[in-house]
């Protein structure tokens, strides 16, 4: 089956920053993303799980963007502005997609 090269960008970020990040992504003209819930984790700021807070607000999410390779830099620049002062991880990997007309 015909596939097309693409980049898979995964941004792990605090949920309270989510709407700011998706606004930035949309401003970078990225056509699509999916958001995965993150149940818990650990990093320099220590371990946490979603059940650790009263308001349960400070969990994290993963935002996954599948984009054309040539769009990568614009996306990273926009995302970085939001992620910058905040905790979070950004990874990029290669993938192939079916139905490239879709994005």
């Amino acid at each position: 089956m015909q596939t097309h090269k693409a980049k898979r960008v995964v941004i792990t970020i605090e949920k309270i920053m989510l709407s700011r990040l998706t606004d930035a992504i949309e401003k970078a003209d990225v056509s699509g993303y999916s958001i995965l819930p993150v149940f818990g984790g650990s990093g320099r700021s220590g371990p946490w799980t979603r059940e650790d807070n009263i308001g349960r607000g400070d969990g994290m999410v993963q935002v996954i963007c599948i984009i054309k390779p040539e769009r990568l830099d614009t996306l990273l620049d926009s995302a970085f502005e939001v992620v910058d002062r905040h905790i979070g991880v950004v990874t990029i990997s290669d993938c192939e997609v079916l139905r490239a007309e879709r994005f």
Binding site: M17, I54, G55, H86, I87
Partner: protein, 324 residues
């Protein structure tokens, strides 16, 4: 009745013991936990119920000048307390200016569960209080955040107000639900209450127990992770500040001429610290401040102190000063 027997009596209620159970479970590392959705559902229920009941009771007693003045006083207390808290914290502890400002913001704002626990103490002693105190609670949630940010900008120019943050704070779900339910209660009055009392009145205390169980679990986990984060000065602050806050609240209540019940609630609002709304705002506006510090202090130290010891003390104080 003296403070000690009052405290003992408060201590052996299902509400306080449920909190203690949660605390215990977390400290011995039991896997007891309330699912996120259930905890959030209970908090929505509690907010809806207290808002609604407050509105109904206001509809019964009518609006008067004291209401407006008390609201205004609440806003001033919320904005002023962080400034005092900041000075004390810098004097007592080794916290950085940034962390001190973030903590200070929490103490100007309020804990609605402490408020509810205090009103249930009033109810079980038959002491009346004004329904509009719920609106005062809502009004005291946000001003403290502004003060905290001002403290930071003043000291080093960071912490600028992110676009959209102000709207997020003023329209956060808890405030909208509390105020909205308050208005619904005001509009539908006793008629409305009769229809939904089996949900908003009857099981209220029971749900509060389960909610406090959850708070105990989370406070316990926080204490386990947060130990080492606070120095002795910061810990002392977590006890001194609510006492001081309650005195400010008492002073304001005397000036306003509030009756005993409402005076106690204003004291409790001033004495309690936020652990939901303000932390969320701080993560956005001051991401460099350490959340362990402010959460451990507000939820792990001040909240249990108020719940178990504070409320009886404040009630004894208010009775002595105001009578009733």
């Amino acid at each position: 009745m003296d403070v000690f027997s009052l405290a003992a009596e408060t201590l052996v209620t299902p509400i306080v013991l449920s909190f203690v159970l949660g605390l215990f479970a977390a400290l011995v590392r039991s896997d007891l936990s309330i699912p996120e959705a259930v905890a959030k559902g209970m908090s929505l229920y509690l907010l809806f119920a207290i808002g609604f009941k407050g509105g109904v009771s206001l509809a019964d007693h009518g609006i008067d000048l004291t209401l407006g003045l008390t609201l205004l006083t609440g806003i001033i207390l919320s904005a002023a307390i962080p400034l005092i808290a900041y000075v004390i914290l810098r004097a007592l502890s080794g916290l950085s200016a940034l962390d001190a400002a973030a903590v200070a913001g929490h103490y100007g704002s309020i804990s609605i569960v402490t408020f509810v626990a205090a009103s249930s103490v009033l109810e079980s002693r038959g002491i009346p209080y004004d329904g509009y105190m719920v609106a005062v609670a809502a009004a005291m949630e946000a001003p403290a955040i502004l003060s905290a940010l001002w403290l930071v900008t003043r000291s080093k120019g960071g912490g600028k107000m992110e676009p959209g943050l102000w709207r997020e704070i003023m329209l956060n779900g808890s405030i909208v639900l509390l105020i909205g339910a308050f208005l619904i209660g005001m509009i539908t009055g006793e008629e409305g209450l009769k229809e939904i009392a089996p949900l908003v009145i009857a099981p209220f205390k029971g749900v509060l127990c389960l909610f406090l169980l959850d708070m105990g679990i989370i406070a316990g986990r926080g204490l386990r992770k947060g130990r080492g984060v606070l120095d002795a000065g910061a810990l002392a602050f977590g006890i001194i500040m609510p006492l001081l806050g309650s005195l400010l609240g008492l002073g304001a209540a005397v000036l306003l001429g509030l009756p005993l019940g409402s005076a106690l609630l204003l004291m409790v609002l001033s004495a309690s610290a936020s652990y939901i709304a303000v932390p969320a705002a701080m993560r956005v506006a001051l991401p460099e401040a350490n959340p362990s510090i402010y959460l451990t202090l507000s939820l792990g130290v001040t909240f249990p102190f108020n719940l178990v010891i504070g409320i009886p003390i404040y009630l004894a104080l208010a009775s002595a000063v105001i009578g009733g």
